[in-house]
């Protein structure tokens, strides 16, 4: 029997002979519970403090739990959510990461100055390779599925234990395969594809499952677009969101990853829980209306929605390609006077590249503002929080009630083209409407 990409990666990482084990080592099946070796363990400034606390509770002074991380090269700490320190308590949390990194000798601790939004930063720094098994104390860890890695978000205790043991328990997920066919229209990108998908299957449509993104359209997608899609697998309840590795992946990884890796492929006779085909030829840019990411409509069908704020950035759409798209729309235009347009490059490198390409000048001359990399407004932290009755269009990934501020505010999710066009129009529009 053939196996899906996720099944192959998990099977290659298992360390035990737990339930469902095939004595001939022929792989794992959905529903199996296995103990697996991890390649990278990640946490950020809001999740690491608890992870570190639980890590310390493991150390009973004897036996194999020594108080040292399993491999200092494989533990990554990124200060991105409430940074640069948004208040005193956040400053204290960042200090916990700093002290732990020093104590454990962690080369991959990213503090303000080196830091970026974690899921833009790790691929850029070559820290995740195809075929890896990655766990992170952040739900959007699934982003690295775009590299053909099995990457999934977990909580702080799982990550604290993984930091010590280098292992996690996993239930092997079913895989659903989504095949994208047809030809993309102008302005339709990865964000529109994943929102359209979530709109069709619902916020629990991929619950406990791996989403495999496939089809001819996928081959033409840039890495940035793939990261965007994998990033939002969790918004459909997915455990992971994977792409097969191809030339685009190899080219991206070739310049960044220094260690050897294994490129797994799904077998032709792999078994899937579900197939979904999406013809993209008739797709327009879409918007997810409040208050669920599956409340998706074509941008031309949502009526007149006036906005107060536009956010362009995040782990979903904070890459250079996203900023280029936004700049294309904003060039020689002005943000509407009542709109705050906040642009957040995902990493220092993205920011520098945006400066050198003249994009930052475009944003500022248009009347937008440009922030240092941070998750900030995505979770209502800082750098663009909403008051009661305010509305934002945002390239972020969640629009639950109160996500970006007051529980009586609203968030509309979109790709960078619609967000930029809406900043100009003062209401949510298709870029062609400008």
């Amino acid at each position: 029997m053939g196996h899906t990409l996720a099944e192959k990666i998990i099977a290659a990482h298992r360390v035990d002979g737990a339930q469902g084990d095939d004595a001939n080592g022929r792989g794992v099946s959905p529903g199996d519970h296995v103990q697996a070796r991890v390649d990278v363990v990640l946490a950020n400034d809001i999740t690491a403090p608890i992870a570190i606390r639980e890590f310390r509770r493991l150390d009973d002074g004897q036996g194999s739990l020594s108080g040292r991380v399993f491999d200092p090269e494989r533990v990554v700490l990124v200060a991105d959510h409430f940074t640069p320190n948004k208040d005193i308590k956040s400053a204290e949390q960042c200090r916990v990461l700093r002290k732990f990194a020093q104590e454990q000798g962690l080369p991959h601790h990213y503090d303000v100055g080196r830091a970026g939004i974690e899921h833009v930063l790790l691929p850029e720094q070559g820290l995740v390779a195809p075929g890896d098994l990655v766990v992170g104390a952040d739900s959007h860890t699934c982003t690295y599925g775009a590299l053909g890695a099995f990457a999934t978000g977990m909580g702080s205790t799982d990550i604290g234990v993984a930091m010590a043991t280098g292992q996690v328990w996993l239930r092997v997920p079913e895989t659903m395969r989504i095949v994208y066919t047809g030809k993309l229209r102008r302005w339709v990108g990865g964000k529109d594809l994943i929102l359209e998908t979530i709109g069709r299957i619902g916020v629990s449509g991929a619950l406990y499952q791996t989403m495999e993104f496939a089809g001819p359209v996928v081959k033409s997608l840039s890495m940035a677009a793939r990261f965007t899609m994998s990033n939002m697998a969790i918004e459909a309840g997915g455990k992971a969101g994977l792409f097969d590795i191809d030339e685009t992946t190899r080219e991206y990884v070739g310049r960044r990853v220094e260690r050897a890796y294994t490129a797994y492929r799904a077998d032709q006779d792999a078994e899937y829980s579900r197939f979904l085909e999406i013809d993209v030829s008739q797709l327009d840019p879409v918007v997810a209306l409040p208050h669920l990411p599956d409340n998706v409509r074509p941008v031309g069908e949502i009526g007149e929605i006036e906005i107060d704020q536009a956010v362009i950035g995040s782990c979903t759409n904070g890459r250079l390609e996203d900023l280029r798209i936004a700049a294309e729309v904003l060039r020689r235009r002005r943000v509407a006077p009542h709109v705050r347009c906040i642009v957040i490059p995902g990493t220092q490198q993205v920011y520098l590249d945006a400066v050198r390409e003249g994009l930052v000048e475009v944003f500022i001359e248009a009347g937008g503002v440009v922030s240092t990399p941070t998750c900030g407004p995505c979770l209502g932290g800082h750098m663009g929080v909403l008051a009661a009755g305010e509305r934002a269009v945002s390239t972020t990934n969640r629009n639950f009630r109160g996500r970006m501020g007051d529980s009586a505010s609203e968030v509309y999710l979109s790709g960078p083209a619609v967000a930029a066009a809406s900043a100009v129009a003062g209401r949510i529009v298709h870029p062609d409407a400008l």
Partner: protein
């Protein structure tokens, strides 16, 4: 393990931003988080839950705990004294987190449909039975896989991992 309490209901897709708003993620203890549990959904939830004699049991629809992976969510729920969460289904990260920190959870659509706010429930976690004492109904849930029951019995993942080491 026997658990008792009074039902507090909520609907589908209750997300972790609703359970604990992001502005409180700059603290990390159950005590500090508990006072803000469900604050933007029901400003009186934490106060009432702490004051009531019987612990609350959250009875929820589909996909409880969806959204962010923040462990602060089950910590807040546990910290405010909720004795168990029963849902039609759980978001997968919340499910793991609850087990890992020793917050009892069960999947049982029938029990959810048969319960109303204020009902008294008596739960046998190991046997997988939920008795609605108020309505005189008993429901069964599928057992947890063996080692997950071991984690629950140990009181959480850290205790379990120490035992295994």
């Amino acid at each position: 393990m026997t658990i008792e309490g009074c039902v507090w209901t909520c609907g589908d897709h209750v997300d972790t931003d609703a359970i604990i708003p992001a502005r409180y993620l700059n603290v990390s203890t159950a005590e500090a988080l508990a006072v803000h549990c469900f604050e933007d959904v029901d400003a009186e939830f934490a106060g009432k839950a702490a004051a009531e004699e019987e612990p609350r049991i959250i009875v929820a629809g589909q996909n409880f705990g969806c959204g962010s992976s923040r462990e602060h969510a089950p910590l807040a729920i546990k910290g405010v004294g909720v004795s168990c969460v029963i849902a039609k289904s759980f978001a997968r990260i919340f499910y793991r987190n609850a087990i890992n920190i020793g917050l009892p959870i069960l999947v049982c659509a029938a029990a959810v449909e048969g319960a109303e706010a204020g009902d008294r429930l008596c739960i046998d976690l190991g046997a997988g039975t939920i008795t609605n004492v108020t309505r005189g109904e008993t429901y069964e849930t599928p057992p947890f896989p063996g080692f997950i029951m071991d984690i629950i019995d140990a009181g959480g993942l850290v205790a379990y991992t120490r035992q295994q080491a």
